[in-house]
Amino acid sequence: MADPVVSSQQGAAAVTTERSVIPHVLRRMRAPLLTLVATYAIAIIGLVAIPGRTPLGEPYHLSFFDAFYFVSYTATTIGFGELPYGFNDAQRLWVTVCIYLVVIAWFYAIGTIVGLVRDERFQRAVARNAFRRRVRRLTEPFYLVCGCGDTGTQLVAELTERGSRAVVVDADEARTSELSMADLRSHVPILCADANLSEQLLAAGLDHPYCRALLAVTGDDHTNLQIAISAKLLNPVLTVVTRADNHATRDNMASFDTDHIVNPFDTFAGGLAMAIQTPMTHRLYEWLSAKPVIPLTSGTLPPRGRWIVCGYGRLAHAIQDRLENIGVDDIAVVAPERPSGIHGSAYIEGKGTEPATLTQADVEHAAGVIAANDDDADNLSILLTARSLNPSIFLVGRQNDPANGRIFLAAHLDMIMEPSSILALRIIRLLTTPLLPPFLRRVRQLPDATVAQHLSEVQSLCRVERAASWTLQVDTGDMPAVVDALAEGRTVCVSHLCYTAADPGARLPVSIAMIRRGGEDILFPDRDMALEDGDEILLIGPRAAIARVRWVAAHDNDLRYIITGHRPADGALLRWWQRRRSRAAGPD
């Protein structure tokens, strides 16, 4: 279900907020109403003043009531005839004048109303007010998404798919109207306005008590920066997630405590480096998510060795940095112009689309080639040429336009780098499983062999192709039964969460991957570790199993049965009876 797009003019008109459209309507209606009153008055006076005769020949004057009645039905062209008696010629002459006078005045008034309703600015104002009202009346948590390009659209789709609400602001009318056509699971208010203007952000719910986070994912770094600054100043406690394509912007955003800054190129380069250096950690990364941020599209892992980077921009720069960090320093850069900082034989002039350049870059002995241009056709051409020269080479392609997804899949590359989906998935991961990034950071510090061991353990436990992850907190919102049990002085262990009351013999296929307690992260906690109030727990496993853990954690009876093996009585009366009986039986 999508929403009609709300537009707003940029500039001064857009800055004024909360402008009611009623004064505008009244002002526009002033002239037609005055005309109407004046013509009615003239017509009525004339009709009352001109003497007529009854059928019996007695003289009479129309009363004001008769005259008003006559003019009313004449002006609206209903025309009931000459009432209360037939008119004489003098009256008819006056009525002829009146008809033209009042009918024209009436059409003028109706025409103005219709013109007003059809007026684009008026419609915009009405729609903008409706948007404001809709946002103000939101009574559940929502995410404010600025920018609905490829990333924003994917973000909104993912958020609504997970049952969250979203509000969207974007300046481009074409994009907002496209999003409004999209088939989303919940109603998404969309405002077509410049998100640079803080007024528009406030209208979209920046200071709304239910606004959970602001996601600035426009394609323009400066706009994202401006949005982040506005958000941090106007609502300092709000979580702000921004996209930053340049390092200068990233540092700038970090300087005023932007909560999460996501750079698609760094994210990808980090993922590639990790896949080369610690393949098992990468496998864990991939396995942990239904939609991995950096997917390997073929079964092979990126090898060490000589890498060729075609096209030198932000992506190539980030990859070069990361690869050199992990000791892969035999990197050849293929670009039309020599980038500063690249010396000697590491640079090959050319585009990479022609075999001669790639041969010059020694593609026959290279481990992998990365096509990092911002042109999809060039990238595919480079990769296909490289494959024809060296069939076993590892192919990494940057896909700039999501619409080219099918072609990239058909090319059977080993890794596809699509900035917009990397951004969207990474932001979703930050928002929905806040414990997952710290968990993965901790895992990366472990030796790869240990990770492999953990992975095979967890995989054999969960027995699924792809696991889901979920963050639970020991509080009354997520785990009321656990909180109650702790308050009663019972011990709730990690292992208690892994069983259901329905089948207490069978362990659920979930793994408690991490517990965060007071800023400290405990990786793969012991099964006997006791939970404490305020713990944050990261669960890994199939979605259905995680749902059962959440059920047990929320239901007193089931949890108590799992802990004690006894079914507690339901209801206050039975509990009282049970307490009485246990007292009568004496302590044992």
Binding site: P23, H24, L26, R27, R28, M29, R30, L33, L34, V37, A38, Y40, A41, I44, I45, V48, S63, F64, F65
Partner: protein
């Protein structure tokens, strides 16, 4: 001199004076209260209301409110007149006329408020 202000002031004042003229006289005496004067008072009051449409200021809003009250009272008076002489065939008995005139008296009060505000605003403008 601003022609718009002249027209505005003219109609607000005229609404008051016509209303006053209709109201003046013995409350039960038909000869003291002319139906044409009531009609004119209604028309001018409606025009004054339309002129105040779309004012953004606080004073404009109060002026519009006062004008709407005057309209309501005068139209109520006209409706009572019509009902008594046409629908109910009562004729203009002293009690009917008394209620018509007292309704117009209420409108007069609203019109006085309008003019007072207008004068205050004008005086404030010069200070």
């Amino acid at each position: 001199m601003n022609l718009e202000k002249v027209v505005f002031g003219f109609f607000i004042l005229l609404a008051l004076t016509l209303n006053f003229g209709f109201f003046l006289g013995d409350i039960t005496d038909v000869a003291h209260h002319n139906v044409y004067e009531l009609f004119a008072a209604i028309v001018v009051s409606l025009i004054a209301t339309a002129l105040k449409f779309g004012e953004r200021t606080q004073i404009g809003a109060v002026l519009l409110a006062a004008s709407l009250v005057a309209d309501l009272q005068l139209i109520a008076a006209a409706v009572v007149w019509t009902l008594a002489s046409h629908a109910l065939e009562l004729g203009l008995t002293p009690s009917v006329l008394a209620s018509i005139v007292s309704l117009s008296g209420g409108a007069l009060l609203a019109n006085i408020v309008s003019v007072t505000i207008l004068v205050l605003e004008t005086v404030g403008l010069h200070r």
